[in-house]
C-alpha cells in the first residue's frame, strides 16, 4: 500500500517548536554526544580536566618573594641632598629648610642622608650621592623621580614646578640636546638623537668641563639599579679619576651604550645655573628667575658655602616672609 501524496501538514502550525525538556536546555550537538552514557562520562571527565588546566594556566603565576609596589603613586619627586656631618649646623638647617619649603609647596618629598652613612671606604665623600640615590629609592618605592641636588646649590625660584619645567614627556623631548659631545668640547661620543621622553631614565646637564653631578634626575626602576650600582663600582672608586664620581660618570656614559641610551642632556640653566664656577658658556650662568643658584666647589678647601650663599639665601628668606 502506498500513498500518492505525503500526508498534509497541520494548517495551524505551533508558533515555535515545542521545547522538549524543561530547565536549562542542552544544545542539540551536545545532547547527541551525551546520548550514550559512557560517552557522556568521557566528555564530562575531559571537560573537567580542560577546565582544571585552563584555571591552572590562569593562576599559574608564582608568588614573589618581595612586596610589589606601584611606582608613581607616591610623591612625584624626591629631593636628595647629602649632608657633610662636619659642616656648620646652622647653615645645614637653612639648606634643609630651603628644600623642604619647596617640596611642601609642590608635594614633593625630601631626603637628607649624611655622607658618613655609606660604606665609601677610602674614596672621596662626594661619592655618597650614588648610594644616597639608591637609598632614597628604597625608602620611597612609590616615587618616580629622584633629584639629587648638591648641598652647594640653592633653590632660587620655588614657584617653578619640576613636571612642567623639565620632567613632562613632551617638554623633555623639546629640551633634549641631541648629537652633542658628552664631554665638551670634542668627545667622539655624542648624545643619541631619537630618544623618547618617557624612555629617559637620567637627566643631566653639562657645564664647561663636562657632565654635572651636582644636580641630576634619576627615574626609579630596574635601570636605575643597574646605573647606580655600575657607577658605584669599587674599581671606579679606587681608580684615580681626577674628579672622582664626575669622571666615573663620564666614563660609563661614553663606554656603555645602555647608559647613554637612557640619558637626556638638557640646558644647564634649567636646573643647575652656576653663580660662580665654570658655567657652560651657552646657558650656564645664573640669572634671576632660574630654578637653581649653584655654588659648585664652595665646600672645597678654603671656601665657605655659608658665606658665599649668604646674600642669595637672605634674599630668598626675605621673599618668603613677604
Amino acid at each position: 500500500m502506498h500513498f500518492a501524496m505525503p500526508p498534509r501538514k497541520t494548517s495551524r502550525p505551533p508558533p515555535y517548536a515545542a521545547r522538549q525538556s524543561r530547565g536549562f536546555g542542552i544544545p542539540p550537538a551536545l545532547r547527541n554526544i551525551l546520548r550514550d552514557r559512557s560517552r557522556g562520562l568521557v566528555v564530562l571527565i575531559l571537560g573537567f580536566f580542560t577546565l582544571f588546566w585552563l584555571l591552572g594556566g590562569m593562576s599559574g603565576g608564582e608568588r614573589s618573594a618581595v612586596k610589589n609596589t606601584i611606582v608613581g603613586s607616591g610623591a612625584p619627586v624626591v629631593i636628595v641632598t647629602t649632608i657633610d656631618p662636619t659642616a656648620d649646623l646652622r647653615w645645614v638647617e637653612r639648606i634643609k629648610k630651603n628644600r623642604e619649603d619647596y617640596a611642601k609647596k609642590h608635594g614633593y618629598a625630601t631626603f637628607f642622608p649624611s655622607t658618613a652613612d655609606y660604606p665609601l671606604k677610602k674614596s672621596p665623600p662626594s661619592w655618597a650621592k650614588v648610594p644616597a640615590l639608591r637609598h632614597a629609592m628604597t625608602l620611597n618605592p612609590t616615587s618616580q623621580f629622584f633629584w639629587y641636588l648638591d648641598s652647594t646649590a640653592l633653590i632660587a625660584n620655588p614657584s617653578i614646578s619640576l613636571q612642567s619645567h623639565i620632567l613632562d614627556k613632551s617638554r623633555l623631548e623639546k629640551l633634549m640636546i641631541v648629537n652633542e659631545p658628552v664631554v665638551p668640547p670634542d668627545s667622539v661620543i655624542k648624545t643619541f638623537g631619537n630618544l623618547k621622553g618617557d624612555r629617559i631614565d637620567v637627566i643631566v646637564s653639562q657645564d664647561k668641563e663636562g657632565l654635572c653631578v651636582n644636580s641630576l634626575f634619576v627615574k626609579q626602576g630596574e635601570w636605575a639599579k643597574y646605573f647606580l650600582d655600575a657607577w658605584f663600582d669599587p674599581i671606579y672608586r679606587s681608580y684615580n679619576f681626577q674628579k672622582a664620581e664626575a669622571h666615573a660618570l663620564e666614563h660609563i656614559v661614553q663606554w656603555h651604550g645602555t647608559i647613554l641610551a637612557k640619558l637626556a642632556l638638557v640646558p644647564q640653566d634649567l636646573f643647575n645655573s652656576y653663580v660662580t664656577g665654570p658655567a657652560s658658556p651657552k646657558n650656564g650662568q645664573y640669572k634671576d628667575g632660574d630654578l637653581i643658584a649653584s655654588f659648585p666647589g664652595c665646600d672645597k678647601e678654603k671656601r665657605d658655602c655659608a658665606e658665599e650663599m649668604e646674600p642669595t639665601l637672605a634674599k630668598l628668606e626675605g621673599k618668603d616672609k613677604d
Binding site: 658605584f232 674599581i235 645602555t258
Partner: protein
C-alpha cells in the same frame, strides 16, 4: 548501421597497440565478423548504439565501482581460492584463521582506522624529519627558543697552530652538538674563537664571549635562551631535551641563594641598608621568570664552560658592562679567566646583578672528568655514569691532560649508554659468544695443562 567513429564507453584503441581490433585492416573498433573479439563492453556499446542511448551510462557499470567492494573484501585471499585442491586443503586452516582476522578487522573498521591513524602519525612525526619541524615550532616543541653557541677553534689562530688531534677533537665536538641540536630543533651557532688581533684596542684580545653572544642574539631574533658551550664538551645524553632537563622546572632545578654552594665565599645576600628589599633578598624576587643567567659552579667558583643566558634588557646591560676598559686596565693581569673572573667580580660588587642570576648544580649541565677539580671523587662535580649525567666538560684538559683520549672515551661511553634495544640485543649475543669462546679456550688450556702434567 552507422559506423560513425565516435568514441564508445570502451574507448578507441590506438592502432597497432591492440591487435585483435585490427584484423580487418580497419581503424574502426568494431569489426563486422570478428565475433571472437566481442567483449562485454563492446557488445553493450553496440546495443547502445542501436538503441540510440549512447550518452547514457548507468551507475555501477564501471569495473571498479562494480567490483571494488568484492575486491577489497577478498583481495589477499582470492588468489588462494584459485589454487588446486591439494594446495587448498593444506593451507585451509591458516587461510581460515587469516580470513577470520581480516573479517574482524573489517567489522571493526572504526578501531582499525584509529590504529592506522596512530601508526601513520608515528611514522609521520617520528620517522620523517617532520618531528624536527614541530619540535622547533614555538607553539609545539619550542625548540627555536634555544640557541647553542659552540666556541670552536679556541686558542687557535695566530697564537697556536692546530695539530691533527685538535682538529679531531673539534670535529667530534661539533658533530655531537649538530646531532643534538638537529634532534631537538635547536639552533646551533658555531663561532670561531681563534685569537685574532682584530680589535682597535689591542688589549681587548680574547674577550670575545660577550660579542659572540650579542651577535647570536642578533642573528636569532626569536630565540630566548642561549647556551654557551666550550669546544671540549660532549653531550653524553642526547635524549635529554633542554626543556625537560632544565627549563620546564627551572625554579626547582636552580638555586638563587649562592650560600647553597659557595666556593668563593661571597657574602650573600648584600647587607647594605641603602639597597632595596629585592636586591637584599637572597633569592631576588623568587620567580623563575626573573632568571636571566644560569651558571654552574665548580670547585673554584663560577664556570663559564657551559652556561645559559636569556634574552632580556637585563642581559643587554650585563653584556654591555661586562667588559670595561678601566676594569680591564686594572685587572687583566689578575683575571686570568677573563670573562669568568670579571663576572665573579661584578657579582660580588654590583648588587643589581644578583637578583637575576641563578646557579645550577654543576653536574646538571657541566660534569667534570677526573683530573679537573680533583680526581673524580666529588659527587657534586664529577661525571657519574650511573646517574647518566647530561654533559661532560673536559675543562683544563689542554694543561697536561690528553684531550683527545678523554673525548674519545666519553664518546664511546655515550654511544654505549645510548644504544637502542636492537643494538643491545646484538651486542648481548656477540658478548655471550665471545664469553663462550673464551671459556672454551680456557677449558682447552686447562686440559692441555692437565695433559702435560
Amino acid at each position: 548501421m552507422s559506423r560513425s567513429p565516435s568514441p564508445r564507453p570502451g574507448g578507441w584503441s590506438s592502432p597497432g597497440l591492440n591487435t585483435p581490433y585490427d584484423t580487418g585492416g580497419r581503424t574502426s573498433p568494431y569489426p563486422n565478423g570478428g565475433s571472437q573479439n566481442v567483449t562485454w563492453a563492446s557488445a553493450q556499446a553496440r546495443s547502445a548504439e542501436v538503441k540510440g542511448y549512447s550518452g547514457f551510462q548507468p551507475r555501477n557499470q564501471g569495473f571498479f565501482s562494480k567490483h571494488f567492494r568484492r575486491i577489497s573484501t577478498s583481495l589477499p585471499f582470492s588468489a588462494e581460492k584459485e589454487k588446486t585442491d591439494r594446495g587448498r586443503y593444506q593451507s585451509n586452516r591458516v587461510v581460515q584463521i587469516l580470513n577470520r582476522v581480516w573479517r574482524t578487522i573489517l567489522r571493526r573498521q572504526r578501531s582499525f582506522g584509529l590504529l592506522l591513524v596512530i601508526i601513520l602519525s608515528i611514522v609521520i612525526f617520528y620517522v620523517t624529519p617532520l618531528h624536527r619541524a614541530y619540535r622547533r615550532s614555538s607553539f609545539l616543541g619550542g625548540g627555536n627558543k634555544f640557541v647553542v653557541i659552540l666556541a670552536a677553534n679556541q686558542g687557535g689562530g695566530v697564537m697556536e697552530w692546530k695539530g691533527p688531534r685538535e682538529w679531531a677533537i673539534e670535529r667530534d665536538s661539533v658533530k655531537n652538538k649538530k646531532k643534538y641540536t638537529r634532534k631537538w630543533g635547536y639552533e646551533l651557532e658555531i663561532v670561531d674563537m681563534s685569537t685574532k688581533k682584530r680589535y682597535a684596542h689591542e688589549w681587548r684580545e680574547s674577550w670575545e664571549k660577550v660579542d659572540t653572544i650579542r651577535n647570536a642574539m642578533r642573528k636569532y631574533p626569536h630565540a630566548e635562551w642561549f647556551w654557551w658551550l666550550d669546544t671540549n664538551t660532549f653531550i653524553m645524553e642526547p635524549t635529554y631535551s633542554l626543556q625537560s632537563h632544565i627549563f620546564n622546572h627551572l625554579k626547582d632545578i636552580t638555586y638563587r641563594d649562592i650560600n647553597h654552594y659557595n666556593p668563593l665565599n661571597i657574602s650573600h645576600p648584600p647587607a647594605d641598608e641603602y639597597l632595596d628589599p629585592e636586591t637584599r633578598s637572597a633569592v631576588g624576587d623568587g620567580k623563575s621568570n626573573s632568571i636571566n643567567l644560569i651558571i654552574p659552579q665548580d670547585c673554584g667558583g663560577f664556570n663559564l664552560g657551559s652556561f645559559f643566558v636569556r634574552r632580556s634588557v637585563w642581559t643587554d646591560r650585563l653584556l654591555d658592562i661586562w667588559w670595561d676598559p678601566v676594569g680591564y686596565e686594572q685587572k687583566h693581569m689578575e683575571w686570568e679567566h677573563k670573562e669568568q673572573d670579571a663576572l665573579e667580580y661584578m657579582y660580588t660588587n654590583q648588587p643589581w646583578i644578583r637578583s637575576h642570576v641563578a646557579f645550577i648544580n654543576q653536574r646538571k649541565v657541566n660534569s667534570f672528568p677526573p683530573g679537573a677539580c680533583g680526581d673524580g671523587k666529588d659527587a657534586n662535580i664529577h661525571y657519574q655514569e650511573k646517574d647518566r649525567d647530561f654533559l661532560v666538560n673536559m675543562a683544563g684538559c689542554e694543561w697536561g691532560r690528553d684531550c683527545w683520549a678523554e673525548m674519545y672515551n666519553y664518546r664511546q661511553l655515550s654511544n654505549r649508554l645510548n644504544r637502542n634495544p636492537w643494538e643491545k640485543f646484538k651486542d648481548g649475543i656477540s658478548d655471550t659468544i665471545k664469553r663462550r669462546k673464551e671459556s672454551k679456550k680456557k677449558d682447552e688450556k686447562n686440559k692441555d695443562k692437565k695433559g702435560k702434567q
